[in-house]
Symmetry: C2
Subunit: 335 residues, 2 copies
Amino acid sequence: LSRAIQVTVLGAGSWGTTVGSLVAANASSVVWARDGAVAEEISSEHRNGRYLPDLELHPMLRSTASLESAVESADVLVMAVPSQGMRAVLEEAAKYVRPWIPVVSLAKGLEQGTRCRPTEVIAEVLPGHPAGVLAGPNLAREVLAGYAAASVIAMPDEHIARSLQVLFSSRVFRVYTATDVLGCELGGVVKNVIAIAAGMAEGLGVGDNTRATVVARGLAEITRLGVAVGADPRTFAGLAGLGDLIATCMSPLSRNRYVGEQVARGRTVAEVMTEMKMVAEGVRSARAVVELANAHGVVTPIMSEVDAVVNEGRTAADAFRGLRRVPPRSELQPA
Amino acid sequence: LSRAIQVTVLGAGSWGTTVGSLVAANASSVVWARDGAVAEEISSEHRNGRYLPDLELHPMLRSTASLESAVESADVLVMAVPSQGMRAVLEEAAKYVRPWIPVVSLAKGLEQGTRCRPTEVIAEVLPGHPAGVLAGPNLAREVLAGYAAASVIAMPDEHIARSLQVLFSSRVFRVYTATDVLGCELGGVVKNVIAIAAGMAEGLGVGDNTRATVVARGLAEITRLGVAVGADPRTFAGLAGLGDLIATCMSPLSRNRYVGEQVARGRTVAEVMTEMKMVAEGVRSARAVVELANAHGVVTPIMSEVDAVVNEGRTAADAFRGLRRVPPRSELQPA
């Protein structure tokens, strides 16, 4: 890209703020925060005390609560609002968006009701704009703290992916390019559902073997679903599939895993959700993901059990008993 | 199988003993221990204090230090000695082995010098016997303690795999069948090398993102190598590939991970190996695996760095710097 460019991140949650801070080292970077106090704190104190306490943001990162001023000068738009709120924010932003600019989603859920992936929502509200995702094993707090990590920028056009790659990269944050937007996006959505199962396993006090089994069989489900809807199976063995799945299922920092763990310890989903400051996308996506799988005739035992726990009050212990009831056959069969 | 059958496990390490104990619930089960005191302890006290202290073995599991008596009545032979010692034990056992009986390897290393996989050694010493593997995320201590886990029995013939499946299964130990012996075996071998890298990451104090990245990029290396030598790529997304890789890379109980962790903290490989009672197969396999990859023109950055650390005294910090030096391109490219 020839002249200095501006990247605007819509949403000042933990990951949006972190991505804004990463970009600030490479380009002009602005984060839109709905809350004026958060915007002020980011701009003047270089921190986001609500989501990322004790961590310093890049000093050049700016923030504003004005959607208009954030969007009108954007050369790249990064969508960092949860999937359920994305359409409303995009519709509001659409009035100010320059033509042609690429839109990158960071969200990892399906829109309830429509079952749309975030890039599908972007295509509906901002038709013609190249839409893609940044996805990978990226726990925000660790990336901001400067731990090494890697991610994938997936855009339909490899050239655009390569132009964006340099904006998000740092010495310790390695960004690979990809063109399988569908696969990278679906990997991020579905892993949040599987992470709830991994959390339930944790909460039930099972061992490392069981957790590894949930991840391996969960990846098989994600891959079968992805292939059925047209994704490249290799994507699911990569950073946005397996990589993100492992980080989310194994890290104590993962919100979806936390929800599963708490539910297995006897709390209700509603209780846990109320207490959390952040959104656990997997809870909201579980039903939509299972519906999508059913619509394509894909068998997904783990995701279906998570859906039953989250939406029908089934207990975690019953869910695991349900998974064990199917006798194992060939590993290549779905259950 | 029509009449009562006997399964003989050669080797009374932690996993051999555990598998013998699992089988004892389904068939006559004998473990051969090189050390008479261990054999006596297993038979009369139902425990193996050296490798599995505090855990009770199945009361019907018997043990002997006589290779002849263990092997001559075996209808199924399970090889639970480390890869480097397998050929010698097999050559001694060959004199007593009944014709036709299947031989199942539990070992997860390559023979130094020949670079043979365990089933290749079996085919050389016992030609004509069906040879396969039992592989998966199976930390011995957890399986014996009764935590839920899953595994794959891979035999060239699906019918034999199905006959063996019932011998190893329990209510909480789920055994799937497969026919990709090569893939299942290679997955187990190579994951031990990757686990050393995961341990080094741990020892360097990196975060969950980095560990997940090592696992995801490590799986990509395993899969490329596997496909190059003729395995089914789907195997590596399964229990014997990804499943075992995750368990080994994430569990504090993993020996290979432990070696990597200690080396990253400044100890030498020789020091760590001397101190351990158990064999870390990855240390011995690293060179052979990298040679195999080179012979097939497969690029394996992570395994090559592990080899350099294990065999050439490179430091863990240098290894990670080396991995970061390659600029990321498309995710589908090897480095």
